[in-house]
Symmetry: C2
Subunit: 345 residues, 2 copies
C-alpha cells in the first residue's frame, strides 16, 4: 500500500477567451483546484518546470490544426517536467522525474499512460532539468528532425536559421555545424547574435533589429542559401527567398512574426523564387518523428557531454507569471529557451 | 552545292521597352530585316507556328531568373516550329520540320546547333504541327515532369489543376487520369469547364469566374487535395491551401494571375497550411528534364494514338497579331494552347 498524499491546492491557468492579437490578462482565468485521491492506474505529479513555446499561441485559436485547440475553460496546454509524488500505476514510481504535456498548473493527476500527456521518464543526473524542455525536448527534436529530415543539409552547404537564439534555433545551428555546414543565424539584438556566434559556434549572425537582413545575407552567404530553417515567417522569409540557391530547401517550422496578427497572415511575396530555383518549402510537425526521438536525444546528449553542444535557457520564476512570460516570447524578450519554474526540484 | 535562297523580308517583333503591367503596343518594335546568305554550319528556317506562353511575360522583365531576360532591341524569345529552307549543316536538310526557340519572326538564321535555339527534328506525319507546341512540346513536358516528378501522384489520390483548359493544364489532368487519380480542374467559364470534363475526361471542373473556388473544392474534393498543380497563383492558390491533405504536394509551375502585377506579388497567406499538413510547395522548370523529354513524348504520343489523350489548340493567324494574341493569354481569352500561325505549311 502506498501512502496517500494530502489534498493539495492546485493553481491553474485556464483559457478564458480566445485572444485577438496578443493574449491579454482577461484571456486567462487563474484558478485554484484541489488534488483528489488517486484511482487505479493514476499518478499525481508535482510540476517543476513548464515550457513556453510559440506554438501555444496557435493552440489558443479555434479551428482545425495539427492538434485540437484548447477549449474555453480548459487548463492551458503546455509541456512540462514534474516529479511523481504518488503512483497507483506500475509505469512510474514516486520520485520519478517525468516529462510530458502537463498543462499550466502546479499538479497533474490522471492515468499514467494518458495519451495526451505522453509522459516518459527522464534522467535528472544526465542533464539539468530545463535542458529536457530544450535540446533534449520538443525544441531539440523539432530542430533535429526538421533540419535533417526536411532540410537535408549536405556538408559544405549554407544553412540559415531565424530565431537563432531561441529554443529551436540554437539547436538547428549547432546540429548544422556538427553536420559540416556553414551556419548563419538571424536574431534580434547584438547580445543574442554574439551569443550564437561566440558561445554556440555559428559562423555569423544577422541582427535583424539593426541591419537589413537582405544585405546581411548577401554579405554573409556569398554562395547563396541552401537550407533555410524558418521560425519567424514575415519579411525575413521574403528576404531569404531572394537569396536561395537552386534546389534549396526551406523548412517551415513556425512563423512567430504572424501568430498574433489581427490582419491576415503575410504570405511570402517572393514565393516564385521557388519556381526559378526549383526549390521547395515544406512544413513539419515534430510529433511525426516520435518513434525516433531517442536517437536524436542520444546524439545530442553525446555532443553535450563532449562539450560541443550547448543550450541556454531563460528561466522565469513563479506560475503566477505565466501570462507575462508568454508575452516575452512574442516580443523577443526571452534570451534562450523560455521556461517557467513552478516549484523547486 | 545547295541552292541559295533569295533574300527574304523577315518581319520581327523586338522588345522596345520593359512593360509595366500588361505589355502595351509601345513595348514592341515591329521591324523588318532581310535574310542573308548562309555561312558554314548554318540553316535558314521558315517559321510556321509560334508558341505563346505565360512564361514570355517573365522573360520581358529585367533581373535574374532561370533564363536571361530578353534584351531591349532583341527579337522576342518564343518557341516555334519551322521548315528548313536551306542548310549548310549536316544536322538538318532542306525540307526538315524542326522545333526550337525561333523567336517572334518569320525566319531564323544561325548555326544549326545553336544552343539557345535547341532545334530538333519533328515528325509532321505523327501529329498535327501545333501539337508539337502543346502536349508534345514544352507545355506537355512541363505537365508530365512537373506532375510526375514533383507532384508524385499515387493512384486514387485527388489532383487539382488550375488553368485546366490551358496548354499545361490540359495535359496535367489527362496524365493524372492515366495514372489513376481523381482530377478536378479549375478554369474560367462554363465552356472551358465543360471541355475539360466532357472532352478530356476530368472528373469535375470549378468555374472560378462564376463560383467560389473554396466551396467548389469542398464539394468536389471530399477527401481533400493530395496534389495541386498551380499555374495561376493568387487567390486560387490560397483557396487550395485550405483543402490540402497531410503530406500534400503543391507544384509551383507558374502564377499567371501575378505576372502583370504592378503591385508586389500576392504571396500565399495560407502558406502555414504547409506546416499543419507537413506538406510541400516546390517549384519546377521544364528544362531540367530535357534528357528525358523523349520518354514523355513517347508515352503521350502513344496515348494520343490510342485516343485516350486529346489536345486543343487555339490558333491565331498572322505574325502582326502577336501583341494582341499575347494579351489573350493574360486575359484568359484563349481556349486551349495558344499558337500563332505565321505561315502555312
Amino acid at each position: 500500500m502506498t501512502t496517500q498524499a494530502p489534498t493539495l491546492k492546485n493553481r491553474q491557468f485556464r483559457l478564458a477567451a480566445r485572444p485577438v492579437g496578443l493574449p491579454k490578462n482577461s484571456d486567462w482565468q487563474f484558478d485554484e483546484a484541489a488534488t483528489r485521491p488517486l484511482q487505479d492506474g493514476e499518478i499525481l505529479v508535482k510540476i517543476l518546470y513548464i515550457s513556453l513555446d510559440p506554438a501555444m499561441r496557435g493552440w489558443m485559436n479555434e479551428g482545425k490544426s495539427y492538434i485540437p485547440p484548447v477549449g474555453i475553460g480548459e487548463v492551458m496546454r503546455a509541456g512540462g517536467i514534474g516529479k511523481v509524488l504518488e503512483s497507483r500505476s506500475p509505469r512510474f514510481q514516486a520520485g520519478d522525474v517525468i516529462s510530458g504535456v502537463t498543462g499550466v498548473q502546479e499538479y497533474w493527476i490522471g492515468q499514467a499512460d494518458d495519451r495526451a500527456a505522453a509522459f516518459h521518464k527522464i534522467d535528472p543526473g544526465a542533464a539539468p532539468l530545463p535542458a529536457y524542455l530544450n535540446a533534449l525536448g520538443m525544441p531539440g527534436m523539432t530542430a533535429y528532425f526538421g533540419l535533417l529530415e526536411v532540410g537535408q543539409p549536405r556538408p559544405g552547404e549554407t544553412v540559415v536559421v531565424s530565431g537563432a537564439a531561441g529554443a529551436v534555433g540554437q539547436s538547428v545551428g549547432q546540429i548544422a555545424r556538427h553536420k559540416g555546414c556553414r551556419v548563419i543565424g538571424i536574431a534580434g539584438g547584438r547580445e543574442k547574435c554574439d551569443f550564437v556566434v561566440n558561445e554556440l559556434g555559428f559562423d555569423a549572425c544577422i541582427d535583424y533589429k539593426h541591419e537589413p537582413v537582405k544585405q546581411g545575407l548577401k554579405t554573409l552567404c556569398p554562395k547563396g542559401v541552401d537550407v533555410y530553417f524558418d521560425n519567424v515567417g514575415g519579411d525575413i522569409l521574403d528576404d531569404v527567398l531572394t537569396r536561395i540557391n537552386l534546389k534549396a530547401r526551406i523548412v517551415i517550422c513556425g512563423a512567430i512574426s504572424q501568430y498574433n496578427n489581427t490582419a491576415p497572415v503575410k504570405g511570402p511575396s517572393n514565393y516564385l523564387s521557388l519556381l526559378v530555383n526549383r526549390a521547395r518549402m515544406e512544413g513539419m510537425v515534430v510529433f511525426d518523428y516520435a518513434d525516433r526521438y531517442h536517437l536524436a536525444v542520444a546524439e545530442m546528449a553525446r555532443w553535450m557531454k563532449e562539450g560541443s553542444f550547448k543550450t541556454r535557457e531563460d528561466v522565469v520564476q513563479g506560475l503566477e507569471n505565466f501570462p507575462d512570460a508568454l508575452l516575452m516570447l512574442f516580443e523577443g524578450r526571452n534570451f534562450g529557451k523560455l521556461v517557467l519554474q513552478v516549484a523547486s526540484e
